[in-house]
C-alpha cells in the first residue's frame, strides 16, 4: 500500500466518528496497538526533542525500506506516533521524504501541527524525514 493509500484509509476511518471524543478514542486505541519498540532502543539519544511527553523513535533500513518503531509515555502522543509509523514505515527513503501527509489536516489534528504545540507531532514528522534523508545519503 502506498503512503497516499494508507493516508486515505486512515482518513476514512476517522470520518466514521462524528465528534472529537470518537476521534480521540480511536487515536488512543491506535496508541495501545502500536508495535512495541525494542526496549534497548529506548535510550536518551532516541528521544525526540520538543515534546511535553517523552517520545522514543527508532528506525532501521531493511531491503531498501525504512522500518520505524516508537513509543511514548503519553497515550495520545503514542496514538499520534502510531499514525505516523503506520503511514511512513516500510517505505523507501525517497517516498518518505516526498510524503505530503495531508491526512493530518483531514482527520482534525491540524491544531497539533503548530510548532508551538508541545506534543511534538511536527517534531516527530521532522525526525522521521530526517532519518530518511540520512539513509538516502548513505545509499
Amino acid at each position: 500500500m502506498s503512503i497516499e493509500e494508507t493516508e486515505q484509509e486512515i482518513t476514512e476511518e476517522f470520518e466514521l466518528f462524528e465528534d472529537w471524543m470518537g476521534r480521540y478514542e480511536h487515536l488512543i486505541d491506535m496508541g495501545k496497538s502500536l508495535p512495541m519498540i525494542d526496549p534497548k532502543h529506548k535510550t536518551e539519544d532516541k528521544i525526540i526533542k520538543g515534546c511535553q511527553s517523552t517520545v522514543w523513535m527508532h528506525s532501521e533500513l531493511k531491503d531498501g525500506k525504512i522500518i520505524y518503531t516508537a513509543d511514548s509515555d503519553a497515550i495520545i502522543t503514542k496514538g499520534m506516533v502510531a499514525l505516523m509509523v503506520r503511514v511512513l514505515s516500510n517505505h523507501t527513503p525517497d517516498e518518505i521524504i516526498n510524503a505530503k501527509l495531508n491526512f493530518v489536516e483531514k482527520i482534525g489534528l491540524t491544531q497539533h501541527l503548530s510548532p508551538t504545540r508541545s506534543n511534538g507531532l511536527l517534531s516527530m514528522i521532522k525526525q522521521m524525514k530526517l532519518d530518511a534523508l540520512v539513509y538516502k545519503s548513505q545509499q
Binding site: S53, A74, I75, I76, T77, N119
Partner: protein, 415 residues
C-alpha cells in the same frame, strides 16, 4: 451546568465580576471557556483594556523629557502609576518601585547588579527546592561567574520548607536568600516573616519572588521587611511585558545600573557619565508606558473588590476543589500544605499529565500541564510533571464541578 451562578454561600459579587472580564464569555472548542490557568497568566478586566485604549487614543507621548503638554501630562500619569503600586505594596518611597519587564527581569536585575557589587568567591546564596527556574537560574549563573555556591532549602512531603534545615544553611558566607512567596506548583505560602527574620539576624538581605502571591494576597513589603520583592503585571490582571522590582533604597542606591542608556543619566561625556538617581537609574530606554498604566488600572480594579474578600473567596474555591479531587480514585494532590493559595497540582495514577490536559482542552478547560518551569521540584517528587488548576476570583464552584466531571471523562477515556 454553565459557570454563571453566584456562590450560594457568601456575598461575593461573582456575576458582576465575571461580566468585567470579556474573555470569559468566549467559547473554546465549542464549549464555554473555563480558565484555570491563572498561575500562568490572568485574564484582563475591561477597566485595564479601557485604560490602555485611552492611553493610545488620548495620551500617547514619550515621558520624562518633553517640554510639551502631552509629554508632561503623561509623565504625571506614569509617575502616578508608580505611586499606585507603591501604595499597594506599602513601600516607603515611590523611587523604591522600579518598572521592569516582569518578575524574571526583576530577579535578573538584582542578580546582575547586586551580584556585581556584593558577591565574590566563596560566598553563598540560598534558594529553595520549590523555586521557579526564574528564581534559580540567575543565581546559578551568578555563582558560576563568581565562584560562589548555591545552597538549597529542602522541602517535606507536604511541600513545605524545612525551616530547621534553612537555619542551618545560614552561615557567615551567606550573602543573599532568594525565596518564593507562594509556590507556582504546590501553592504553599511560605512563612516569609520567619525566613526574613532569621536572615536579617545575620544581616543577610532577602529577595522574594512574589509572582504568584500578588494576585491572591495583601503584600506589605515594610511589614514583611523584604529587601527585594519582585512580581509581574500579567499575573495580576494587568498587561504583559511589565513587572515590578521593589528594593530597599539602601540596596538600590548601592547597586550599579543594570542596563544603561537613555533615561538613566544626569550627564554624559566621553570621559565620564553621571547616572540618575532612583528609580530612573534602573529604567533604561523608553519604558513600557502602557504597561505601567494598565498595571495601575488592574491594581485599582482589584482594590475595589478588596484583596481580603478575594483571598477568602479563592480559599473557598480551593477547599471545594481539593475535596472533590480527593474523592477521585488514583488522583494524588502534589502540595498539601495547610497554608496554601488557590493552586492545585495533581497527578493521576498511570495517566500522563499531557493526555489529561489534551482532553480537558477539548472540553473547553484550560489547565497547565508539565513541569511548570520547576524541574528540580519535579525531581524532589520523582515525577515528570503534574496537571495544575489555578483559580482566580472570577472562577466559580460550578466551573469546578464541570472540571471534575471532565476529569472523570478524561480518566475513563485514557485508562
Amino acid at each position: 451546568m454553565l459557570p454563571t451562578k453566584s456562590m450560594s454561600a457568601g456575598t461575593f459579587p461573582i456575576q458582576k465580576i465575571r461580566a468585567d472580564f470579556p474573555i470569559l464569555s468566549r467559547k473554546v472548542n465549542g464549549k464555554p471557556l473555563i480558565y484555570f490557568d491563572n498561575g500562568a497568566t490572568a485574564q484582563k478586566p475591561q477597566a485595564v483594556i479601557n485604560a490602555i485604549t485611552h492611553y493610545y487614543t488620548h495620551q500617547n507621548a514619550n515621558i520624562h523629557r518633553g517640554v510639551h503638554t502631552l509629554s508632561q501630562e503623561l509623565t504625571v500619569v506614569y509617575e502616578n502609576a508608580r505611586a499606585t503600586i507603591q501604595k499597594h505594596i506599602n513601600a516607603k518611597n515611590p523611587h523604591e518601585i522600579i518598572f521592569t519587564k516582569g518578575t524574571t527581569d526583576s530577579i535578573n536585575l538584582v542578580a546582575t547588579s547586586f551580584g556585581k557589587k556584593f558577591i565574590s568567591e566563596g560566598d553563598e546564596i540560598i534558594v529553595s527546592a520549590m523555586e521557579h527556574h526564574s528564581n534559580i537560574l540567575p543565581w546559578q549563573q551568578l555563582c558560576i561567574e563568581k565562584g560562589a555556591t548555591l545552597k538549597v532549602i529542602p522541602i517535606n512531603e507536604s511541600g513545605e520548607l524545612m525551616l530547621d534545615e534553612y537555619k542551618n544553611l545560614l552561615t557567615d558566607n551567606t550573602k543573599l536568600v532568594a525565596i518564593t512567596h507562594i509556590s507556582n506548583v504546590l501553592g504553599t505560602i511560605n512563612p516569609l516573616e520567619q525566613i526574613i527574620e532569621w536572615a536579617h539576624s545575620r544581616n543577610i538581605p532577602v529577595l522574594v519572588d512574589g509572582a504568584q502571591a500578588v494576585p491572591h494576597t495583601i503584600v506589605d513589603v515594610q511589614k514583611l521587611d523584604a529587601d527585594f520583592y519582585c512580581f509581574s503585571s500579567h499575573k495580576l490582571f494587568g498587561p504583559t511585558g511589565v513587572g515590578i522590582l521593589y528594593g530597599k533604597e539602601k540596596y538600590l542606591n548601592a547597586m550599579p545600573p543594570y542596563q544603561v542608556g537613555g533615561g538613566t543619566i544626569k550627564t554624559v561625556s566621553f570621559d565620564k557619565t553621571e547616572y540618575a538617581d532612583l528609580p530612573l537609574k534602573f529604567e533604561a530606554g523608553t519604558p513600557h508606558i502602557e504597561g505601567a498604566i494598565g498595571l495601575a488600572a488592574a491594581i485599582n480594579y482589584i482594590n475595589e473588590i478588596g484583596l481580603s474578600a478575594i483571598s477568602q473567596y479563592e480559599n473557598e474555591l480551593l477547599e471545594y476543589a481539593t475535596r472533590a479531587l480527593n474523592k477521585i480514585e488514583g488522583v494524588k494532590i502534589i502540595g498539601t500544605s495547610k497554608n496554601k493559595a488557590s493552586v492545585i497540582s495533581f497527578v493521576v495514577e498511570a495517566i500522563h499529565n499531557f493526555d489529561i490536559g489534551t482532553i480537558l482542552d477539548q472540553l473547553g478547560i484550560a489547565v497547565r500541564t508539565g513541569h511548570h518551569c520547576t524541574q528540580p521540584l519535579m525531581q524532589c517528587y520523582q515525577i515528570q510533571g503534574t496537571v495544575r488548576a489555578s483559580f482566580a476570583f472570577y472562577n466559580t464552584t460550578e466551573e469546578i464541578d464541570f472540571f471534575i466531571e471532565a476529569l472523570l471523562k478524561a480518566i475513563s477515556m485514557l485508562k
